[in-house]
Amino acid sequence: MALRELKVCLLGDTGVGKSSIVWRFVEDSFDPNINPTIGASFMTKTVQYQSELHKFLIWDTAGQERFRALAPMYYRGSAAAIIVYDITKEEAFQTLKNWVKELRQHGPPNIVVAIAGNKCDLNDAREVLEKDAKDYADSIHAIFVETSAKNAININELFAEISRRIPTTDSNPGSSNKGFKLRKQPSETKRNCC
Amino acid sequence: MLMISPRMTTAQEKQFPPSLQNFFIYNPKLGPREGEEEKKILFYHPTEVEKNEKIRNVGLCEAIVQFTRTFCPTKPAKSLHTQKNRQFFHEPEESFWMVMVVSNPIIERVNKDGSTVVEYQEDELLDTVYGAVIQQCYSMYKLFNGTFARSMELGGVELLIQKLEKFFFRYLQTLHLQSRDLLDVFGGISFFPLDKMTYLKIQSFVNRMEENLSLVKYTAFLYNDQLIWSGLEQDDMRILYKYLTTSLFPRHMEPELIGRDSPGRGGMTGNLHHYGRFLTGPSNINDPEIPIRFPRIFVNTKDKYEELHLIVYKAMSAAVCFMIDASVEMTREFCQKLDSLVGPQLTLLASDICEQFNTNKRLSGPEKEPHFKFIYFNHMNLAEKTTIHMRKTASMCLTSVHPDLMKILGDINSDFSRADEDEEIIVKAMTDYWVVGKRSDQRELYVILNQKNANLIEVNEEVKKLCATQFNNIFFLD
C-alpha cells in the first residue's frame, strides 16, 4: 500500500483543546487535566485512507503568547493547518481570524486550512454560533467542523477531510518522502525565538 | 553621625563600628490626619534632622508595621534590615512606638587608583541583642519617669515630650552599641556567692533596718556590684540592678578601696567604724543649704504603680538601696538617723563579708587560668555568671573573647529561644575554638574552649567536668 506523509500543524488560543484533539486522534484518549503544551509537541499517526496509508506528522503548538513567534517555524512546512477555537469563548474565535490572516500572508501558498470549533459538548455555554463559524469558514474556503475531543466527536472525520483535501504527492512540493525539513526563515537570524 | 573615630586596620582599610543613626518615639494616634504627621513625633534623635525627613522616617516605620499586619495582625515587624542599617521597632505601650536605627559596621577600602569602596557588613548585628537594647531603653526610662500613658494623663503631650527629651538626651549617649552582646539579651543579675551564715546575717540586718526605719518600703542589698538580697519584684530589680551597676556605682568608684575615707556625703570622716555614705540624694546631709532630694523611681507599674524615693547607701563594698514611698517628704533628720544607724552596722557587715569571701577564696586554692570561659543564665531567677566579661564600667563591658565568638553565642541563644526544649549545641568555629551551648530547665550555659585539637567527645568531657566543679558552689539559689 502506498504511504503518504501529511504534515499538519495545530494553531489557536491557549486552552481551546489543540492537544486534546491530537491525543484523541493519536491515542484515542482524553485527559481533563492536561497541562498546557510547552513549545511544540510532535506526534505521528498512520491511518488508512482509501487505498493509501496516510502518515500524519502533527505539530501541536503551544497557544500561549510567549510561544507566538515560534508558530511560523511549524506552519511553514505544513500541508494543512487546523485552527482550533473554543465554542464557549467568543475571544478565541476572534484570534482564529488573526491566524487565518497570518497564514494567508506568511503561510505556504497551497496550505489546507481547517477550522475546528472544539468543546461542542459544552453547548450550554456556547458563545460562538455554529452558523457564524460555518459562514466564515466557507468565505475562506476552509474545512469546518465542530468537534469534541472529550466525547470523540468529529475528530477522525476532521483528519479524514484533511486527507481528502490535500493534493497528491507529486503536486505537493512540500511533502517529499525524505521527511520535511523546517525551512530557515531569512529574517530570523538570531537564535532568539521571540 | 559617626561619633567614633575610624580605626585604621591596614594602610588602605578603615573600619567603622555600628553606631546610633536615629532614635525616635511616636504615637500614630496623635496625628491621624494628613498634614498633621509631625504631631505624632514625641522624640527624635538627632534633633537637627529636618522636619520632613523626620516625618518620612516615621511614616516608613508605620508603613512597615502596618504592612506586616497583613501577614500577622498580632505580631507586627520587630526589625527592618537594609544594606546600610537595621531598624528596631518596639511598642512598649499601646500605640507608643520606639524606633532605634543602628548603622551596619563599615569597612572602607582605598583602591590603588585612589577611589574608596565602602563595604557594609550586613550580617554583623544580632537582632536579639539590639531588640533587647531598645527594650532596656524603655525600662530604664520607665524606672525614672513612669509610663508614657501616665505622663500623658498628668500633663498631656507636653509633659511627656519634656520628660522624654530630658531623659533620652543623656541616656542615648551611654548606649555604646558596639559592645552590646548576649548579656544584654539576658539582662541578668549577678548574685554574690556566700555561705548560709553570712546570708542570714545580711537578712537579719535588712530586717533590723526595715524595723527601725519604718518608712522603708523595699530594700535591696549588694556586695561587689553583685546582688544578695532584694524585696523588689524581679523585673523591677533587674532594671534597677542595671542602673546601679552600669551607671551609679561606676560614678562613685570605691575611694575606700584605695585607703581613703569618703569625703563629704556621710560626714563622719576618720571614723574607722563608719565608712557609710549616700550615693544618691544631697551631697552633704549636714549642710542646711542643700535641699533633701532623692531620685524618684517607679515600680510595679502594671498594677500598684508605686512611686518611690531611691536612697542608695554604701559602706566599702556593700551597698543598700532603701526605697520609700514618694508621698512621704524626706527630711534631713531622717537622713541623719539613717546614716548613724546604717553606717556603722553596714561597715561591720561589709568587712565580715569581705573576710569570709577571702577565706573561701583561699580554701578553693590558687586560681588557675582555666582553658575555658563561660556564661551562665537562669531564666527563673535571672541569675547570670560570666567569666567572659572582665569588668563592667559606666561606659563599657569588656569581653575577653573575639566579637565573632560572642556572636556565635548569640546565634546559639536564638536557636534555643525558638523552642522551649532542652537542647545542646556544640560548634567548632573557623578559628578552631569550640563553643558549647546547653539549655536545660530554663538554664542556659555557654562555654568557649580553647582546645583546638580536641574532638567532640573530649569537648563533651570538658564541659561535664566544668558543670560538676563550677556550678555546685556558684548557684547558691539553685
Binding site: 513549545g39 503551544a62 521527511g179 530557515k184 | 508605620e62 508603613a63 501577614f71 544594606q83 569588656l398 565573632d404
Partner: protein, 538 residues
Amino acid sequence: MEADVHNKKTPWEINGSLAPAELQRNNRSESPTPGLVEGTEPGARQDSAMFVHTRSYEDLTGGEEEKRRQESDETDSPGQSQMEEISKDFSELSTQLNRVVMDEEIRDGEVEGTVSCRDSALSDKEEDVTSESWRQHRKHVFVFSEAGKPIYSRYGTEEALSTTMGVMVALVSVIEAGKNVIKSIHAEGYKVVFIRRSPLVLVAVARTRQSEQEVAKELLYIYYQIISLLTLTQLNRIFEQKTNYDLRRLLSGSERITDNLLNLMDRDPSFLMCAVRCLPLSASLRDLISGALQQAKDKSLVFSILIAQNQLVTLVRKKDQFLHPVDLHLLFNLISASSSFREGEVWTPICLPKFNSNGFFHTHISYLDQASSLCLMLISTESEHFFTISNCKRKVLERLNKRNTFQTLLDGLQTPSYCVSQVGISDLRHFIYKSRSSGLFTSPEVEHPYVTQEEQERLLELYQHLYSRIHNSSRPLKYIYYVGQRENLLAWVTSGFELYMCFSPMGTKTGAVNAITKLMKWIRKEEERLFILNPLTY
C-alpha cells in the same frame, strides 16, 4: 582600648589564657581525614567535572548583579527617577495605608465575582487573602514589576493582592530613594525577604527557619525560572518599551512551573545543597548509557541529559561547555512540573540563565519509555534542527536496546534510591553527603519517622538551618553537633565535602563520631554507584 578588643586583625584573646589564634575565615582549611582534600573526596570526579565549579554558585545571593545595579543607581538612571516619583508622597503613606485596608475590603466583594470564572484547577489561588489560613502559609512568594504590576503570587490571585504588592513596591522605592536597599523585615515567627532584580522585584514571606540568605536564594531561583522562559534580553526590552506591562500575558501557563519549583524547594535538598543527586546505578551500566548519549551527537548539540525522578542518570556535554547546577535544577523542575512531555516529542526554546541569560537553546524533550520516568533532554543551539535531534534520540534508544541496556536501566529504576539501613549505623536516620568538587550529592530515602509530608519538610528545614549556620556569611563554622528532643544532628564542612547527618535522639556523641568514619568508608566503597565519576564529552 575597646577598639583593640574588637579589632578583627588582632588576636581575640587579651589575657592570654586562651592562646591567640589567627582568623582563617576564607580558608576552609585542611580536611581532618587524611587524603580527603578537595578533589579526592568520595564522589569527586576523576578527570573533568561537568558543572561549572560549584563554588561559583555561592555568589548566587550576593554580589555582582546587585553591585552593578547599585552603581547604576548612583548615576541616577531613569529607573531611579521613576522610583523617586513613586515614593514622592511617601510621607503620607501611613495615612494612605488606612485607605488600603478599606480598599481591600471593597475589593473582596469584587474578587468573589471574578473568582468564579477562573479555571478550577487554580483553586490554590482563589483563597481569601484576608483569611487566617492564607496568612498561615509556610511561604508566600510574590513577584511584581518595578512599577508595581503583579506578576505572580503563590497563594491568592494577583488581583486580590495587587494592593499588597503595591505597598511592597512602595517600601522598596522609599528605601531606595534614601540611597539604601531594603533586605528584609523580621517579626516573631516570620520574615519578609526582598530581592530586586531589575525590572522585577521578588518578595517572600517565610515562616520557616531558613536564614534571610536562604530565602533570598530561593527567590533568585524564581527569578531565574522567569528568565528561563523569556530571556533577560526580552524581559528588559518589554519593560523598556512599556513600564507598566502586564507580564502575566507572556507567562500565562507557567504558574504551574513556578508553583512546582517552590514545592520542590520545600522538599528536595538539591536546591539547598547547590548540588545534583545522581540515580544510583552500577558504573558499567552508567558508562554504557553515557556512551549511548555520546554516540548520538550532532554539531548543534551542547548537552545531552538523561534524568529520572529529579535525579541525574547521566550528562554528556560539548567540550569546554559546562552546565551550572542552577540551570540543571530548572530543567529538572520543568520536567517534573508538566505532564505535557509524556506524549510525543517536545521541541521548545529554553534559556539557561546561568549559562547565558540572553539567548534560547532549543531543547528536545521526550520520555524514553512512556511508562517510566526516564526523560531525555537534548539541548541544541539550532531552532530548525528538530528532525536531526529527533534522530539523535532514536539513535540513543537503538543503542540502549541493542545490548539490553535499556531493560537493565528500567529494572534499576525500580529501586531509585537506597535505605539508610544499608550503611549499617544503628542510630543513623538520614544523611546528606556532598562532594564539593563535583557538585554532586547523595542521600538515602527519607524514612521513619519522617513519613508525613509535614515531617519530611521539617527534616529539610533542620538541614536548612544547619546549612545556614555552618555557611553563615559573617561567621562560618566547621562543625555543628546538635542534641534535641526529637533528633540529634551533625554538620561538618571541609574543603572537600559537606556532611549532614540525622541521628535518633538516643544516639550518643561517641556514636556520632564513630558513625562519621563508618559512613565515609561506606560512601567511598559505594562511590561508583552513587556518583558519576567519569563524565563524558561528545
